[in-house]
Symmetry: C2
Subunit: 281 residues, 2 copies
């Protein structure tokens, strides 16, 4: 067993866009790209857990992150292998020592599998108190602008085909901005779960990281960001009141409407070093 | 009991937006509106079913539509009352004759409560064959333009606060376009479920109707549209490949990228009467 343990993962990303012929309002034929969408049923030690609808761009990472965010698997070391098979639209997850209480764990999800949710919201809320974010984290306006620009120029399914959400994680040290992860999926929840999976595999801590999403910051997106230990959340879109309240509760800095050089600080202003402040230092 | 039966429904819509103070990239304070987001836990005959995260603009309709789309309730007549209580964030649904197999029904959801899903996808797919849409339905370009314009000028939470999705249903008879329902929520699945609930209450058939959404037409949105018996789906956004495939399978006409006078016909071109065709008649 290597010093850092990795489960055996298949590498079955799908071709993510498809060409279709459409007709516009003037009757003109066009060929456009649209994103794929596939059902992926997760089996944990042969027990059927959930069916996710996904773009299929990072299925193994999605499964990993889903299992972690659902509290169905506690440690990466407990996972022996994940085999994604698109012939059967299934992901077989094998653990070293199957949990005996898996039924109890999964049955809880019934009460929280809501629209746009599909996660154990109750558990998340209970976990909020345990979230510890780096208290003295700061983010400069220059870094914010670099992040927005990096997303703008990054090749994406969205630019080709639309109808997907992207999540990205950046490392910011001093003024140096580095893109660590970029994931797109048909649901913003899948995209953030896949990021969670990649960070879990890499044992990536949240310190010095910024989470960016094209999607709306609803309660659950903010909670997942916090659970990754990431102190800064940025969205091209907006946030809901509960998303904001949770961010305030866990001292997570939330920036919305990030576009070009524009952004709105919803909470955590003291952690954002605006140029005007910098010049006053 | 009246000729048309209505369950007793509370009328507990929430104030849907909240003013917050934010700071922009130049350090300027602004006051903006953001949408509310509340947890609503549904109890069916005292059994906890699900927690939905919702804007709260039409909670009773959301609960109705959710129960119908989840196949948890078969007839509107079987529902005695729905009481939404925001003190406890709960919706108490009382039926005349509680189902004995409710555990079996809800346990099935475990396997399909995916991200952005929260619905019994497997059952939906099984139901596809039963969907019968009016085969000779037609929609004129003039009506399409009127629908897009009607949405453009309709007052909305989105215009105030962003971060919500809208679903609307229009009746089109000859060239006359009438807005029947307009619902916004933090998740597009909630919005379509609430529309389902309103149509169910009104015994509204899908004939002559057009469903419009600001959200992406993923598989589930298309299936729900088809289950409402609505022959035309329009979105300001795009569609996924599975959404398109399902639309083709059930002869549902799908228009995407609807904006201004522009739209793309993804499938069902023969049902769309473009101006150029009209002039040739």
């Amino acid at each position: 067993m290597p010093e850092i343990y990795y489960p055996q993962l298949s590498n079955n990303a799908l071709p993510v866009t498809h060409q279709i012929d459409v007709v516009d309002e003037k009757g003109r034929k066009q060929s456009i790209s649209i994103p794929g969408e596939r059902a992926l049923t997760i089996y944990l030690d042969k027990k059927e857990i959930v069916t996710l609808m996904t773009l299929g761009a990072a299925p193994e990472a999605l499964v990993l992150g889903y299992l972690k965010n659902q509290h169905l698997i506690d440690t990466i070391e407990s996972i022996e292998s994940i085999q994604v098979d698109w012939e059967t639209d299934s992901a077989a997850v094998k653990t070293h020592t199957p949990k005996s209480n898996i039924d109890a764990l999964t049955s809880k999800r019934i009460v929280t599998s809501g629209c746009g949710q599909g996660t154990m919201f109750g558990e998340f809320m209970a976990d909020l108190d345990q979230i510890q974010l780096p208290p003295d984290a700061k983010l400069s306006q220059l870094a914010i602008n670099q992040i927005i620009d990096s997303i703008r120029v990054h090749p994406s399914i969205y630019k080709q085909a639309g109808s997907v959400h992207a999540c990205a994680v950046f490392r910011v040290i001093n003024q140096a901005v580095e893109l660590l992860y970029f994931i797109e999926d048909v649901g913003r929840h899948n995209a953030v779960d896949a990021i969670t999976g990649l960070m879990w595999l890499d044992r990536q801590e949240g310190e010095n990281l910024v989470f960016y999403t094209t999607g709306r910051l609803t309660s659950e997106m903010v909670i997942k960001g916090g659970q990754m230990g990431i102190p800064f959340l940025m969205t091209r879109s907006g946030a809901t009141q509960m998303g904001l309240e949770i961010a305030q509760k866990i001292n997570l800095t939330l920036l919305a409407r990030c576009s070009g050089t524009h952004f709105l600080i919803y909470t955590g202003q003291e952690k954002i070093l605006l140029e005007l402040e910098n010049t006053n230092l």
